[in-house]
């Protein structure tokens, strides 16, 4: 087994069109897609009356849930762009939560943030040592980092937090809050507008309001980090070298690039970002470290990154999709998710029609239409979704989007392949 083929299969499968079909999404398109999404949700809200679908609260919660996932994903992006598969994000994130708790408790929340990054970097260093220096399989190392991260955090937590006021073996004492930002006048003004529930306008107001109300500095830092990542990786010589290590390390080597150095650095940054994601969980989403606080978000971050086709913009949309659907199900529970059933039915029906009409795939089309009818029937016959089921919303949504969106995922060509200097020419 080697990590190399991890995601390769989907690309090499026959019948996929030849490589070279690249689509660049321009800025106006992004705005267009965004407005269209708001419009769709707005229609859904008006039709179903599930007001929480586009409330600023839901969106703010979505942001809150998306940031840690996004940071983990961004960490994955750095590492995998340099050719190191990072399944260890979860472990690095866990280390980050502990670092935030420990440093934050002793030296305040900003130190906590630093501690989170630092502990994440430690996790990254383990991964880098194993994969880059010793050249072992990336998956093995990542899995080991997950286990070690979990163990170190739990063990150290039990060691240092036990007996501290408000702390215990499984949680740190409380840490003070980090500042957050609200644009005063605009926020309340938009709030009023939002409450009017006017089609589209109120929804847009909700969106805008969610980003100018009580926005944590860490969220702002996270957004800046996404932009900075894009700029560094795609617009600087450093980034070019780093990416070349993920695309073709032997080629980079023959041009004098010290591949080890870039890979090592990338994995360290990766750990730092994942750690920051953990720090967000401990410092912003809560104000303590707790065992198991990450709840698998490192894996979700990895999924968001793959979802986003190893690009910053893509991973942000992956994290946002997940964060939004998770927020909506956590807040509105059955009724809001119930409203989404309608959207699902319409989407599946559209796919069915498209398949029959354009692709002449009658059988698949009929299956899709049938499925749509069942979902629609479910929508009509019930007025809520059982609570046990709502929890799966973000996961189902992610899967559906992946399954329906015609996708051409392409990971960095040498992602996951062990690299040894001077070999493989």
């Amino acid at each position: 087994m080697s990590a190399a083929g991890l995601h390769v299969s989907s690309e090499v499968l026959p019948e996929t069109p030849p490589k070279g079909t690249r689509r660049r999404i321009s800025a106006p398109t992004v705005v267009g897609i965004f407005l269209a999404a708001v419009a769709v949700i707005s229609i859904l809200r008006v039709v179903t009356g599930a007001n929480d679908l586009a409330s600023s609260g839901a969106l703010a919660a979505a942001i809150g849930l998306a940031v840690p996932i996004g940071m983990a994903g961004l960490g994955g992006l750095w590492s995998e762009r340099a050719g190191v598969v990072n399944i260890g994000l979860e472990g690095m994130m866990i280390l980050g939560t502990w670092g935030a708790g420990f440093f934050g408790w002793h030296w305040g929340p900003w130190a906590g943030l630093f501690g989170a990054v630092l502990m994440g970097v430690v996790g990254g260093a383990i991964h880098a040592l194993a994969t880059v220096v010793f050249g072992v399989d990336h998956i093995v190392s990542g899995v080991a980092v997950n286990i070690i991260g979990l163990g170190v955090a739990k063990y150290l937590a039990a060691r240092v937090f036990t007996g501290a006021a408000g702390g215990g073996p499984t949680q740190s004492p409380p840490v003070a809050d980090l500042p957050s930002v609200t644009v005063p006048g605009a926020s309340s003004g938009l709030g009023t507008l939002e409450q009017k529930h006017i089609f589209f306008v109120s929804d847009l107001a909700g969106v805008v309001r969610s980003v100018i109300t009580d926005l944590s500095v860490v969220t702002i830092i996270a957004v800046l980090l996404v932009v900075a990542t894009w700029w560094i990786l795609w617009k600087t010589a450093f980034g070019l070298r780093l990416r070349s290590c993920g695309e073709s390390p032997v080629a980079a080597e023959t041009l004098g690039v010290n591949v080890y150095r870039y890979k090592f650095l990338a994995v360290l940054v990766s750990g730092g970002l994942a750690g920051l994601g953990g720090g967000y969980l401990a410092l912003v989403a809560a104000n303590i470290y707790r065992d198991g606080q990450t709840g698998g978000r490192g894996y979700i971050g990895l999924a968001a990154m793959i979802f986003g086709n190893w690009r910053p913009g893509g991973l942000v949309s992956g994290a946002a999709l997940f964060g939004y659907t998770d927020a909506v199900q956590l807040r509105g529970g059955g009724t809001t998710v119930h409203a989404m059933l309608l959207l699902l039915a319409v989407l599946i029906a559209a796919v069915g029609v498209w398949q029959i009409w354009r692709k002449h795939a009658v059988v698949q089309g009929i299956i899709a239409l049938g499925t749509a009818a069942v979902v629609a029937l479910w929508f009509v016959l019930s007025n809520t979704v059982p609570d046990e089921i709502t929890g799966m919303t973000p996961y189902v949504a992610t899967l559906l989007v992946l399954a329906f969106a015609s996708q051409r995922l392409r990971m960095p060509a040498a992602d996951g392949q062990p690299y040894r200097k001077g070999e493989g020419h």
Binding site: A61, T170, L281, A285, A286, R290, D291, G292, R331, E388
Partner: protein, 328 residues
């Protein structure tokens, strides 16, 4: 019931002296001593017994996702180490207790929260969480101005549903038209809902923004998120297991209307005294309102104005005039 006063060392080191010392082995559930919640409450009972009765104790805790054999082994090792009275904290221990109790008929067992393990040497310490929850439900309804309250459950298991059932019943008793928003954070066997403050916060925020003005949580460590959400929204929250107005971080204590106290410490303490006084009795011992096993907290004074009404409900339950449901 809290860990802030307990000190770092577990009591193993302090075992010495008197030959007749009662020996207690404690097997905690996942999270263990210091979880600021359920396990800590049990630990408090043990600590009190140590102080008052001079017993000798040994503690061990479960790890997430361990095999059944690990729980059996834990109990057996405590016994092997000479701790011939064993308290198993949490319903997950039921099969293990049933098995090990059979193999060790001379050892006395207590199991918290479960009636599944039975035997001549097993005492079941169970609680009427629904009764305490009924009272805080009533308190929520009495305090709610919007006629809209919330319940955040950590993990969707039967135990937590008891909390929900009592809470809803209590609220409806006060206001039959009250709206109760209910959310569970995770589904078993994913127990992350007991330790994910971010999710607790998101769920509670949603409830407050949807009009709730009091939210009750039975979500262990995720409850911290519920309190933060209450504070941010300027609304109220209700704590669980221990008197959280005393144990929660100082800055959120002011939003805690009351707490549903589940006195695991009392139950554990009573088991230990029974053992010590040779009054051990097998079978189910229900810690309900009547027995003082559950209660609501008054710390902070926010319920002072409705205390009389709550106490009236309490009396009715004790008198059996109100039957609180255990299922939602």
């Amino acid at each position: 019931a809290c860990g802030n006063s307990s000190n770092t060392s577990t009591s193993g080191a302090s075992s010495s002296g008197g030959a007749a010392k009662v020996k207690i082995g404690m097997a905690y559930d996942v999270g263990g001593r210091g979880d600021q919640s359920f396990n800590d409450a049990a630990a408090a009972g043990l600590d009190k017994a140590k102080k008052d009765l001079g017993i000798d104790a040994k503690e061990a805790e479960a790890t997430q996702g361990e095999p059944e054999s690990a729980r059996e082994e834990r109990l057996q090792q405590l016994i092997d180490a000479g701790y011939n009275n064993v308290v198993a904290v949490g319903f997950a221990y039921a099969p293990a207790v049933a098995k090990i109790a059979k193999a060790n008929p001379d050892v006395k067992f207590a199991i918290v929260d479960s009636t599944d393990a039975t035997g001549a040497n097993i005492e079941n310490l169970t609680f009427a969480e629904q009764e305490g929850s009924y009272l805080v439900g009533a308190a929520a309804a009495l305090k709610s101005k919007t006629g809209n309250i919330g319940f955040v459950g950590g993990v969707n298991v039967d135990l937590i549903k008891k909390f929900e059932a009592g809470y809803v019943a209590g609220a409806k008793a006060v206001n039959p038209n009250i709206k109760v928003q209910v959310k569970y954070l995770s589904q078993p066997p994913d127990f992350s809902g007991f330790g994910d403050p971010a999710k607790g916060k998101t769920a509670a925020e949603g409830m407050y923004q949807n009009g709730a003005d009091v939210v009750y949580h039975a979500a262990g460590g995720s409850g911290g998120g519920v309190f933060s959400a209450a504070k941010a929204a300027g609304k109220l929250a209700i704590g669980v297991d221990s008197d959280q107005a005393l144990t929660a971080p100082a800055d959120v204590r002011s939003v805690i209307l009351t707490s549903m106290i589940k006195k695991v410490d009392v139950a554990v303490y009573s088991f230990i005294t029974d053992v010590k006084d040779n009054k051990f009795q097998s079978g189910n011992k229900v810690f309900d309102l009547k027995a003082g096993g559950v209660d609501y907290a008054t710390t902070g004074g926010l319920v002072n104005d409705i205390k009389a009404k709550l106490d009236a409900y309490k009396q009715q339950i004790i008198d059996g005039k109100i039957q609180v449901p255990t299922k939602p």
